[in-house]
C-alpha cells in the first residue's frame, strides 16, 4: 500500500526523537549524526527497528542535516543511500505487523534566508533539491520536512520536493510557546501557504511538550483541509544529577496524543525525548480510536509570513502601490526610490489596509526583475499579505515564487491565453486568484454576460485542480458618468456571482466615479451598495477617510463587528490620523530672531509642521530660495549644534526628517510646476558584502540627501562587483562604504581594491563601528567618516572638485 492511500482511512503512527537516542548511543556532541549512517549503521538500524517494533508506520531516516552545506556531493550521496537502506532494513527485520514506510527526513539548514539572513532563496531550493533527488534515487516512500522555523525556508524545501519528485510530502514546523514560528508565522499562515503548495499533510513538532502544543494543534485542525500531524517533545529536559530526563513520562504522553487524535489529528509521534517506549505507549493507548475524517474547511484566505487574512468578512486591499495616474509614484519607480514606495505601503497599513496591491508596471520598467524585487523589499518591512498585480506572466511567476506566504494574484480573465498562463502558476505556487469578467469579446454590457464568463473561468480553473475557494471574481466597476446603468449592472453581476457561483468577489471601487467631481462621495456610496450586494474585497485608497467610514459603519450595521469594537477603534484611533498636525504654523515661536516657521520646524525636528510650513513658504518663495535660504541654514544650525555636542544624534536625525518632509513638498511642487531639483552630485552608498548592519549607512544617507546629494543606496551585504558596476553605471564620483564588524572589514578592503582598479577616479569614504582613521587609510580609503556629520563634511569638501560638469 502507498502512504497516500494508507493515510486516507488510518491513523498514521510516526517515530520519536531519534536524536535523543543517538546521544544515548554515544554520539559525541559536535559530531554530525548523519555520518553514523555509514560508520555506525547497526546502531542506526537498531534505533529505527525499535520504533518499527513499537508500532511506528513511518520512520524518518537519519538525515536531518544531510545537505550540501554540510557534506560534499559524494559524501551526501553515500549518506542518503545508507540512511534509506538502514531504515528499510530496520522495517524488514522488525517484528511489527503494521504497514511500514520510510520517510526521507529533511530539517532546516540552520541558515536564515534573505533579507534578514545571508542565504538566498534559490540557493536554498537548490540545497534541498539535491537531498530530495538522492532520496528519490534510493527509494524513500515519502519526504518528511520537519522542525522548520521559518516560512520562507519551508517554502523552498517544499518547492524542491515538488520540482524533483512525485513523492508525498509531510511538513512539520516548530512553533514556540507563543504559538508562532521563530520568524513570526502563526499556524493559520502556515496552513494557507502549505496547502497552496500542495502538501499531503502538515503539522507541528519539537520546541515544546504536548500540553503547550494544544493551542497550535487546535488552530491547525480548525484551518487545515489536509491531514494534521503532531510530534511533541516529551516535555522539558530536567537536569537530574549527572543525567537529563524529560518531565513527561510515556503514559502521560500517550494520553495527550489520544486527546489530539480525538480532536482530529491523523498522524502522531514524538520528538525530543520520546523513546520507542513512548511510541509503544501511544499505540497501545490509542488502539480503539477511530480516525476522524479530514474535511475541506472551505476557507478563502491569503497569507503573509506572519498571519492569514480570510475573506469571511469584507477585506480592504490598498491600491496605492501602482503608478497609474500618479506622477510622483512614476518618478519614484524610475529613480528606483524604494524608500518612497515602501513608505506608501507603510502608510496604507497604518490606515488599516488588510492586503496591499503591488503593481510596478511602466513601459521603462523590467517587471520580471523589478516586481519580485519590490515584493521582497515590501515583505522585509510590511507583514500584510500582498496582491501580485501584473499582466506579465513571467513577472507573475517570479514574484509568486519568491513570495513569502500565499499571495493574492491579480489577475486572470476569461481569455484562453490568460487562463492557460495564470492557472498553472496558481496550481504550483498556491494563491487566491482574482478573475476579471472579460474575455476575447471584451466586457459584457449585461450582468448575465459577466456571470457567464465567471462560470467559464471557474470551470476552467477546476480542470487545473484549483478550487472555487481560491478564486475571487471581479465583475468590473465601470464609469457611471459614461453609462448611467454601469453601477447597477456591476451590482447585479456581483449579487448573482456570489449567490449562483458561491465564490467571493472584489471590485476596484473607485473606477465608478471617473470623470466626476468630488469622487469620494460617489465612491463611498457605491462601496456601501457593493458591500450590501455581496462584495468580499475592495481595492481602494485607504487614505480616503470616506471609504473607511463607509466600511466600518457597514460592518457595525450588518452585525459583523462585535460590540462595534472595530468601528470605535477606527473612530478614535485611525480617523485622527487623517487630519494633519493640529499645531498651526504660527503657533510655533521662533527660537531666535529672524528664524522662520520652516526653520523653526526643522530645528525642532517637527515633521508635519515642516511639511505645512514649507507648503506655506512655497506660496511666496521659489523652490530654490526655499532650499537655500530656509532649509539649508536650518540644517546648518542643527549640524553645528551636533558637532559642538549641544545636540545629539537622535535630535540631528529628527531635524533631518523634518527637512526631508519639507523636501518632499518641494519635490511635489516641482512636479506640478515642471521645475527640477538641483542635486550636488551622486554618491553610491553600500554596506559591504557579508555585513547586514545598515543603520549607520542609513543615517549617513539621510544626512547626505538633506544636504542635496543624490544618494544611490545599494543596501546591505553588497558584493564588490555590484558596487563597482553601479558606480560605473551612475558615474558617481564618490562612494561611501560601511562595515560594522572586524570580519567584514576585509570585504571593505576588497571593495576598495576593486574600485581602485576599475574606477580609478572615484573617491572613497568609509565608516563603521570598528574602523579607525588609521585603519581607513591603511585599506586605501580617501576619507573616514567618524559619524554622519563628518561624512557630510567630507562630501561637501569634495563635491565642487568632483562634480565639475
Amino acid at each position: 500500500m502507498k502512504i497516500r492511500e494508507f493515510l486516507q482511512n488510518h491513523i498514521v503512527y510516526l517515530d520519536g526523537g531519534t536524536g535523543t537516542l543517538l546521544q544515548e548511543a554515544g554520539l559525541p556532541l559536535g559530531e554530525l549524526p548523519e555520518r553514523w549512517n555509514l560508520s555506525h549503521a547497526e546502531e542506526i538500524r537498531k534505533i529505527h527497528r525499535a520504533y518499527y517494533n513499537a508500532g511506528s508506520n513511518v520512520v524518518c531516516t537519519n538525515t536531518f542535516g544531510a545537505n550540501r552545506l554540510k557534506f560534499s556531493a559524494s559524501e551526501l550521496d553515500g549518506i542518503i543511500r545508507a540512511a534509506v537502506e538502514n531504515a528499510r532494513e530496520a522495517g524488514n527485520s522488525s517484528n511489527g505487523k503494521q504497514e511500514k514506510f520510510v520517510a526521507l527526513d529533511i530539517g532546516p539548514t540552520g541558515k536564515l534566508l534573505k533579507p534578514y539572513g545571508d542565504f538566498d532563496f534559490e540557493e536554498a531550493v537548490k540545497v534541498f533539491a539535491e537531498t530530495v533527488k538522492l532520496g528519490v534515487k534510493y527509494g524513500a516512500d515519502l519526504v518528511f520536512i520537519e522542525t522548520m522555523s521559518d516560512s520562507l525556508e519551508t517554502k523552498a524545501a517544499v518547492l524542491a520536493v515538488k520540482e524533483n519528485s512525485d513523492l508525498p510530502v509531510f511538513v512539520s514546523c516548530a512553533y514556540g510557546a507563543d504559538g508562532k514560528l521563530m520568524t513570526g508565522a502563526n499556524p493559520a499562515a502556515m496552513v494557507a501557504m502549505l496547502e497552496g503548495l500542495g502538501v499531503d499533510a502538515l503539522g507541528v513538532n519539537c520546541s515544546v511538550g504536548p500540553a503547550q502544543m494544544r493551542g497550535v494543534v487546535k488552530e491547525l485542525l480548525e484551518k487545515a483541509s489536509v491531514p494534521v500531524l503532531v510530534k511533541p517533545n516529551a516535555g522539558l529536559p530536567i537536569a537530574d544529577g549527572d543525567t537529563t530526563r524529560y518531565d513527561i513520562d510515556e503514559n502521560a504522553f500517550a494520553e495527550y496524543i489520544a486527546e489530539f487524535l480525538k480532536q482530529g489529528a491523523r498522524l502522531v509521534g514524538g520528538c525530543c525525548g520520546t523513546t520507542p517506549a513512548y511510541i509503544a505507549a501511544v499505540v497501545e493507548a490509542t488502539k480503539g480510536i477511530q480516525p476522524l475524517p479530514v474535511t475541506d474547511k472551505n476557507i478563502t484566505c491569503v497569507s503573509s509570513y506572519t498571519h492569514a487574512v480570510e475573506f469571511s468578512k469584507p477585506v480592504l486591499i490598498g491600491e496605492r502601490i501602482n503608478p497609474t495616474g500618479k506622477k510622483r509614484f512614476k518618478q519614484a519607480l524610475i529613480e528606483r526610490d524604494t524608500g518612497y514606495i515602501l513608505g506608501e505601503g507603510i502608510a496604507q497599513q497604518e490606515k488599516g489596509a488588510h492586503i496591499l496591491d503591488v503593481n510596478v508596471g511602466l513601459p521603462d520598467i523590467d517587471e520580471k526583475t523589478e516586481l519580485p524585487r519590490y515584493i521582497e523589499e515590501l515583505q522585509a518591512v510590511i507583514d500584510l499579505p500582498l496582491q501580485i498585480d501584473t499582466s506579465d506572466p513571467a513577472a507573475m511567476e517570479r514574484a509568486m515564487r519568491r513570495y513569502n506566504g500565499k499571495p493574492l494574484v491579480n489577475s486572470v480573465n476569461g481569455k484562453r491565453e490568460s487562463m492557460s498562463a495564470v492557472f498553472p502558476l496558481v496550481k504550483k505556487y498556491g494563491g487566491v486568484v482574482v478573475a476579471l469578467t472579460l474575455d476575447e469579446k471584451g466586457i459584457p454590457d449585461t450582468a448575465d454576460g459577466r456571470v457567464e464568463i465567471a462560470k467559464k473561468i471557474v470551470a476552467e480553473a477546476e480542470k487545473y485542480g484549483i478550487s472555487k475557494k481560491d478564486m475571487i471574481v471581479d465583475p468590473l466597476a465601470m464609469t457611471v458618468s459614461a453609462d448611467p446603468n454601469a453601477a447597477r449592472t456591476t451590482l447585479q453581476a456581483l449579487r448573482e456571482i456570489k449567490t449562483q457561483l458561491g465564490v467571493h468577489t472584489s471590485l476596484g471601487v473607485s473606477n465608478v466615479s471617473f470623470g466626476l467631481p468630488v469622487r469620494e462621495v460617489v465612491n463611498a456610496a457605491f462601496f456601501a451598495l457593493a458591500l450590501e450586494n455581496g462584495l468580499s474585497a475592495a481595492i481602494l485608497n485607504p487614505n480616503s477617510a470616506e471609504m473607511l467610514k463607509t466600511y466600518y459603519a457597514y460592518l457595525a450595521l450588518t452585525a459583523q463587528d462585535e460590540n462595534c469594537a472595530e468601528y470605535i477603534r477606527f473612530a478614535t484611533e485611525t480617523l485622527p490620523k487623517f487630519t494633519p498636525a493640529t499645531t498651526a504654523v504660527s503657533s510655533v515661536s521662533p527660537q531666535t530672531q529672524g528664524e522662520t516657521p520652516l526653520q523653526t520646524a526643522i530645528v525642532k525636528g517637527l515633521k508635519e509642521l515642516a511639511s505645512s510650513a514649507c507648503e506655506e513658504t512655497l506660496k511666496t518663495s521659489s523652490a530654490l530660495d526655499t532650499v537655500e535660504k530656509e532649509i539649508v541654514p536650518a540644517l546648518d544650525l542643527v549640524g553645528k549644534a551636533y558637532e559642538e555636542k549641544r545636540a545629539y544624534l537622535p535630535q540631528l536625525l529628527m531635524s533631518a526628517e523634518a527637512a526631508k518632509a519639507a523636501f518632499e513638498k518641494i519635490r511635489l511642487h516641482l512636479l506640478k510646476t515642471g521645475g527640477k531639483t538641483e542635486k550636488k552630485c551622486k554618491i553610491v552608498l553600500a554596506t559591504v558584502k557579508g555585513d547586514i548592519h545598515d543603520i549607520g549607512k542609513n543615517i549617513v544617507g539621510t544626512l547626505l540627501e538633506n544636504y542635496g546629494f543624490e544618494v544611490i543606496d545599494l543596501g546591505r551585504d553588497v558584493a564588490p562587483e555590484t558596487i563597482v558596476e553601479k558606480t560605473q553605471e551612475t558615474g558617481a564620483p564618490l562612494v561611501g562604504l560601511s562595515a560594522l564588524m572586524t570580519t567584514t572589514v576585509p570585504s571593505m578592503a576588497e571593495t576598495i581594491a576593486l574600485l581602485r582598479a576599475r574606477v580609478p577616479s572615484v573617491k572613497i569614504l568609509v565608516g563603521g563601528a570598528v574602523l579607525t582613521e588609521e585603519y581607513a587609510k591603511k585599506i586605501g580609503a580617501d576619507g573616514y567618516g567618524k559619524d554622519g556629520m563628518a561624512s557630510v563634511r567630507f562630501a561637501e569638501s569634495l563635491y565642487k572638485d568632483l562634480c565639475k560638469k
Binding site: 541558515k111 545571508d118 507603510i346 533631518a656 558584502k689 543603520i695 564588524m741 570580519t743 563601528a769
Partner: protein, 218 residues
C-alpha cells in the same frame, strides 16, 4: 558535567532608559521631544520581543577556548564554564528596517532599544544562573564573548555547534559570522569556588582595542 543544551525564556526585563539613550549616541540628557519619541518607540515595540537563551555547561578540559588570553584571564581558577546564546528575536530587526524607510530617528532608537534589550536579557540570565550555582558554592565571573579582546570572533562557529542555536532559539550565523536576529549575544561565564571577585573591568572596555570609542568606559 551535563552536555544537554537547555532553553530558558524570560519575562521582559525593565527598560533602562539611560542605557538606551547612551546606545542612541545621546550622552547628555534628553530633551522633551526626544523623550516623547522614545516613549512612542518603547510603546510600539514592547510586545514584539521574545527573550530566549540556550546554554550548557562546558568542562575546563575541553579545548573550546583555545589559547586566548582574554579567555584565560576570565576563566582563571574556574571549575567549569557555562556558554550561552541569547536573542530577543527577529521582530526588532523588522521594526528597525521598517523605520529606516520612514523615520531614521525612530530606526536609531529601535536600534538602541534592541541593544539595551539584549544586554538586559544577558544580565537577567547571568544573574539567574549565578543564583543557581551559588547554592552549590560556585561563583560567577565576568562574562565574555567572541570578539572581546583576543577571543576571536571565529569562535562563533563553535558556540553555534555546541549550542544548536538555530533549533533551540532560532538564532543563525551568516558566512561572515554575523548573527541573525542581530540583537543576540553569545558568551561564556566562568564559575569558581573563590567567592572574592578579582579586579575586573565591569564593562569589558579595558579589553577592547578601540580606544576612540565614544561609549568607552574605563
Amino acid at each position: 558535567m551535563l552536555d544537554t543544551v537547555f532553553v530558558k525564556t524570560y519575562p521582559a526585563p525593565p527598560f533602562n532608559i539611560r542605557e538606551i539613550l547612551r546606545y542612541a549616541g545621546c550622552l547628555g540628557s534628553a530633551d522633551e521631544r526626544l523623550n516623547t519619541l522614545l516613549g512612542e518607540c518603547i510603546a510600539e515595540c514592547e510586545e514584539v520581543f521574545s527573550y530566549r537563551v540556550c546554554y550548557r555547561e562546558l568542562a575546563p578540559d575541553e579545548n573550546f577556548f583555545g589559547d586566548s588570553q582574554t579567555a584565560k584571564k576570565r576563566l582563571d581558577g574556574c571549575e567549569f564554564s557555562v556558554i550561552f546564546a541569547a536573542t530577543v528575536g527577529l521582530s526588532i530587526d523588522r521594526l528597525i528596517a521598517r523605520y529606516a524607510e520612514v523615520s531614521t530617528a525612530k530606526a536609531l532608537l529601535f536600534q538602541a532599544i534592541g541593544a539595551e534589550r539584549i544586554e538586559s536579557l544577558c544580565n537577567a540570565f547571568c544573574a539567574d544562573i549565578a543564583g543557581e550555582y551559588e547554592k552549590r558554592g560556585l561563583y560567577a565571573r565576568q562574562r565574555f564573548s567572541p570578539g572581546y579582546g583576543d577571543f576571536p570572533l571565529e569562535k562563533q562557529t563553535e558556540f553555534f555547534r555546541a549550542l544548536d542555536c538555530p533549533r533551540k532559539i532560532g538564532l543563525t550565523l551568516s558566512d561572515s559570522l554575523l548573527m541573525s536576529p542581530t540583537k543576540s549575544v553569545t558568551a561564556a561565564v566562568g564559575f569558581t569556588r573563590a567567592s572574592e571577585k578579582p579586579q575586573e573591568c565591569e564593562t569589558g572596555c579595558a579589553d577592547c582595542e578601540k580606544a576612540d570609542c565614544a561609549l568607552r568606559i574605563v
